[in-house]
Amino acid sequence: MRSRRSSFRVPLLLCAMVCLVCTLRGTAARAQGQDRAPEYFPADIQYGAQIFASQCTACHGTSGDLIPGVNFRAGVFKRVVSDNDLRATITNGVPGTEMRPFAFGPAELTEIVSYLRNMSSPDASGGVMGDAARGQAIFAGAGNCASCHAVNGKGPRVAPDLGDIGTLRTAELLHRTLTDPAGSMLPVNRPVRAVTKDGKVISGRRLNEDSYTVQLIDENEHLVSLTKSDLRDFAVLKTTTMPPYKDKFNAQEFADLEAYLLSLKGVK
């Protein structure tokens, strides 16, 4: 059984790997305006293939051509035109047929669609295919990701736990966050700094905020709720301690790391 978390506290990659709700919306809007996404990411295709193999082949066959009138490799569908049609068909099923509804999250739907659109040539995107095991090594080593992020409760809570990031984010969004963490930060996850009227400084990661209060996890990993009228100063920071990896990793390393992050589907 998979878990997901609410948008207001959803983790993102690293302190700054955030702002992806905005980018998610951007992706959805773009997809609605045309039949196909302008680009399918190799890591999405790769994971879509895994989901297809475990969930779809019993009826559709490994080549996707067992159902009369449907041939995924050839791009032949009965009623699907756009990527959103594919998502809807997978999510809702087809009444009166053996095609039942599937409860996939948005990231998984993107992965399946990416694979179905590239079945004839999974590496036709021209991108680099990643290796999750190598990516895990980067996460723990060269990327230093594990110094801030936990995975399924193992690790620090300075930044959000990434144990189910693979159900929440697509390869595209992960890549954007890795290369531009400050620019991709989800607003709710921004660092905050508060000074109480008696001079105490509280810094941490914002979890929730309203007109009168703010909730955060502080640098000592304590949940703290502050009343704004008790504060002398309160600031939401636009910076992040997460470094941009744009010039640090090559294409293969990015692909490996993203493959690992996409493999994090939560505890089952």
């Binding site: 998979r2 959000p160 909730q215 304590h222």
Partner: protein, 548 residues
């Protein structure tokens, strides 16, 4: 470390913890939970499950000054049966189907929400509900309606591990708050209306690895199996869907078990049907049973014994004794010796006609009613799973009741088919044409009049079994109870009123209409020197404190 360094280190530490002492919830803290009245660390408040708070700021003299402090609105229209935990100013609660929410206990504002995606195969009998959590260290534990047990990081709401208890498609579910004892998370399964075979199981809190499993319906190699005939035991029920209690000195946990299957057609399951409708004393280290006591052998009335076992150390006939108090769905109040399971006393607390009394061993002297005649109490019982309370201050045991409530039972042969209802009969109201009072409120009009049932809060003197006082209510009562060291009693009810009573007299001191059925237990805690009382009603959790 020299003194100056120590001072600097202390200063740094003090600055790092600006508002409250945050510490992990250790096993030792759980053992002495009553010593932390500012917190509510276990489902029933303590291992003794007395739901008794030592807080005294709110008292009979000022209860009239209670006012609403905050409201948490659940994102669900299901029944809201949660009892929250409160740890050092942070409240953890559950909302349907299996969400966990961390909120600031002072303001009700949320820190995080954990959403668990329940399987569509889940089919709990009586609502997509959850009653609460357990905690150890920085980890919360929740049982799910699709029969999983999930560990969740209390700081950031992320799942740490997830284990399957049983097959949801076969009717197994889990709705209770787990009980953590000595590093193990102990949980039972629901499903008594689906012919499941009940069990209680323990898991390592760190890893989720199963430590032991106790089947509540013994197989042919286990003691108690001779209380069944043929293969009837295979779908014998005995579900466990309420949180147990624990005596650390005896090193025993106590668990109530549910009805045998099929519920109403006892003819097709001859024998006493052990260990249905019983209390089991299990070793938390091994799962071995030390003793059992069966309240309702060969039960045809769905008299689940899933009430919370209330533990008290009190005089019994002139000598101090380790006692267990039990207000049973079958309409009798029991006193047991919790070291041995020996029956000490029992007396009806509502109208009872299914038994004329209890014999010297506590076994009911059954008086089955003629076909078509009502049996008292009815199918929902004289009480049900609603948490009772025991006040060491008043020495009284308190429970919510369904009074003058009967049901006409009819047994019908049931065929077992996995995942479908296996109840074997029907139950109807003794009032012709009227609906049989349901286990939950079905709308804002109270259609269940005095002709069908009414409710109340009853205070029982455990030394005699006699009622000390009774607080009458028009509708039946589905609420848990909280008592405090200031001799206040907080209770809700199906009518939606949240009430403060004088625990010694039953006098009403304060009430507030919250609008929705109260089918959960109140708790009390303290933040920044102020006492709060909370209760779930309808689809919201309400927090009250004294007017400033």
């Amino acid at each position: 470390m020299n003194p100056s360094r120590l001072t600097r280190a202390s200063l740094v530490l003090a600055l790092a913890i600006p508002f409250a002492v945050h510490a992990q919830v250790t096993s030792d803290r759980l053992l002495h939970a009553t010593n932390e009245p500012q917190n509510w660390l276990l489902y029933s408040g303590s291992y003794a499950s007395q739901r008794y708070s030592l807080l005294k700021q709110i008292d009979p003299a000022n209860a009239k000054n209670l006012e609403l402090k905050w409201v948490f609105q659940a994102q669900s229209l299901q029944k809201f049966e949660t009892t929250p935990l409160v740890v050092d100013g942070i409240m953890y609660l559950t909302q349907s189907p299996n969400d966990v929410v961390a909120v600031d206990a002072k303001s009700g504002r949320a820190f995080w929400i954990y959403h668990y995606a329940t399987s569509p195969a889940a089919r709990p009998c009586c609502g997509i509900v959850n009653r609460g959590l357990a905690i150890l260290g920085d980890t919360l534990f929740m049982a799910t309606v699709d029969a999983h047990l999930v560990a969740i990081d209390a700081k950031d709401g992320h799942a740490v591990w997830n284990v399957k208890l049983a097959e949801a498609s076969a009717g197994y579910a889990a709705t209770m708050a787990p009980l953590v004892v000595k590093g193990k998370v102990i949980v039972g399964v629901a499903g008594g209306e689906f012919g499941v075979r009940g069990f209680i199981s323990a898991f390592d809190a760190e890893t989720g690895k199963q430590a032991w499993k106790f089947d509540t319906i013994p197989d042919p190699d286990q003691p108690g199996h001779d209380s069944w005939r043929g293969a009837d035991w295979e779908h014998g029920g005995g579900a466990v869907w309420m949180t147990g209690s624990y005596d650390p000195e005896l090193n025993l946990t106590y668990w109530g078990t549910g009805n045998p299957g099929p519920d109403f057609n006892a003819e097709q399951r001859q024998g006493d049907n052990l260990y249905s409708d019983s209390v089991l004393a299990l070793d938390p280290d091994t799962g071995k049973m030390k003793w059992y006591f069966q309240f309702s052998p060969h039960d045809p009335y769905d008299y689940d014994s899933v009430q919370v076992p209330v533990l008290a150390n009190a005089d019994w006939q002139g000598s101090p004794r380790k006692l267990m108090y039990w207000g049973n769905r079958n309409g009798f109040f029991y006193v047991l010796d919790r070291g041995t399971g020996k029956f000490l006393a029992g007396k009806p607390f509502v109208k009872v006609n299914w038994a004329s009394g209890l014999d010297a061993n506590g076994r009911p002297i059954t008086t089955p009613q003629p076909p078509g005649s009502p049996t008292y109490p009815g199918i929902q019982g004289g009480t049900n799973w609603y948490s009772p309370s025991y006040s060491p201050s008043t020495g009284l045991f308190y429970l919510s009741t369904w009074e003058d409530y009967g049901t006409i039972f009819e047994g019908v042969k049931a065929e077992y088919k996995e995942g479908t209802r296996f109840t074997g009969g029907a139950n109807t109201s003794p009032v012709p044409g009227a609906e049989n009072p349901a286990g939950t409120r079905t709308g804002p009009i109270n259609a269940y009049t005095e002709a069908m049932a009414h409710g109340g809060v009853v205070a029982i003197d455990p030394t005699t079994g006699d009622k000390k006082w009774k607080f009458e209510e028009h509708d039946v009562n589905t609420s848990g109870i909280l008592t405090t060291a200031s001799d206040l009693l907080f209770v809700g009810g199906r009518e939606g009123y949240f009430q403060a009573l004088n625990a010694r007299t039953g006098a009403l001191l304060w009430k507030q209409n919250l609008g929705g059925e109260i089918i959960a237990g109140p708790i009390s805690f303290e933040v920044d020197g102020k006492q709060y009382v909370t209760i779930a009603s309808g689809n919201s959790l309400f927090a009250f404190g004294l007017r400033e």
